[in-house]
Symmetry: C2
Subunit: 214 residues, 2 copies
């Protein structure tokens, strides 16, 4: 298995964690999103969307979209399971994952940040305000649901790691990179710190990938 990713990409981070948890060896090639590598013809030929990660398992076209890749890994390498067996518990784990991967992360990816500054003419500070706002909305939603919903345990869904935790951690790490105040989120913090103390998460951390600032 191999992947084209980027040190900072929350989506590539989630996939790395799943590969590590399942004990699957992989190689990752890192492209430079700030330099616009994702828009070069050679990468657009791989993923016309110009987004990482692009994931390869043997021959054939790349797989894209982090949650689709996570489901693929779950179906092809079911142990250890990263989704619960009970259908409603699975749906809740997936729903929490999508709070991050659908309702939060897509709002501040590089193409959106560029549109805000270059096309709408927003000052850099307003763009960063936008980014921090949607980060905070995402973390607040997780905190509220994890506090209110009975399914929460040691992890987001019960006492086993699921896709929801991979997504939670990918959001949590971003709060540090982008300077979002995390004091109001003790439940998210508890789960994130529990996960990040485990080697499968720690070695997937953005700051431990090539290209990350020292």
């Amino acid at each position: 298995m191999r992947m084209i990713g980027n040190w900072r990409s929350a989506a590539a981070f989630r996939v790395r964690i799943a590969l590590n948890l399942k004990g699957l060896p992989y190689e990752e090639t890192f492209i430079d999103l700030d330099a616009g590598d994702q828009h070069r013809p050679e990468f657009r030929a791989i993923n016309p969307q110009g987004a990482v990660p692009a994931f390869f398992d043997g021959d054939g076209p790349p797989l894209t979209q982090s949650l689709a890749i996570l489901d693929y890994l779950e179906e092809t390498h079911p142990e250890p399971a990263l989704l619960p067996r009970d259908p409603k518990a699975r749906a809740r784990a997936r729903s929490l994952a999508q709070v991050v991967a659908s309702d939060s992360h897509p709002l501040y990816v590089p193409r959106v940040r560029r549109y805000l500054t270059d096309d709408l003419g927003l000052p850099q500070e307003a763009m960063l305000g936008w980014l921090r706002h949607w980060f905070a909305v995402g973390v607040t939603t997780l905190e509220t649901r994890l506090t209110q919903e009975p399914g929460t345990g040691r992890y987001c869904q019960g006492d086993a790691i699921s896709h929801a935790d991979l997504c939670l951690v990918s959001l949590w790490v971003g709060t540090a990179i982008f300077g979002v105040d995390t004091a109001p989120y003790p439940t998210v913090r508890r789960i994130a710190e529990d996960c990040l103390a485990q080697e499968a998460f720690a070695k997937a951390h953005p700051k431990r990938q090539p290209g990350a600032p020292a």
Copy 2:
């Protein structure tokens, strides 16, 4: 089964189509997103995120997030299948679905439109420009992938309807509601029109739901 939705919600639309295709009877209660019903305490108690749909199958907390609900329906009512059996084909169908549900739709939901006008002070016309831009990016990505990738058939993935088509149709219908030029997207149009000619899609159409403008 029952659902709290809204006539215009692309997410509720996707779930209605899946329920119809699987022949599952359901009741839908419609709330008024323009009036802010989703932020009232009685709805926030159901879904703290303040987003539709909220889906109920018997007892227990609601299921949320359209793609999580689609996977739940797939797991609990596998026939007719709305995902292919082959893992890579499944991953592609899911990836195309997420181009819509993760990378496009979340960028112009009501809470984002409100933030652009009320918090960033953008004029209504600039907000509509934003909305049409991200619609167009989503449809362009689908068109490019469907044209370039060998997996495309009568539908997005081969010759059977999948989650990708439900998402494609939910995006396509939005282009008409919001006045996006659809001329450059013949493949998306072909698949959308094929689907919408089928009763399971047609009767789920936003314009056929209570609350829709005449």
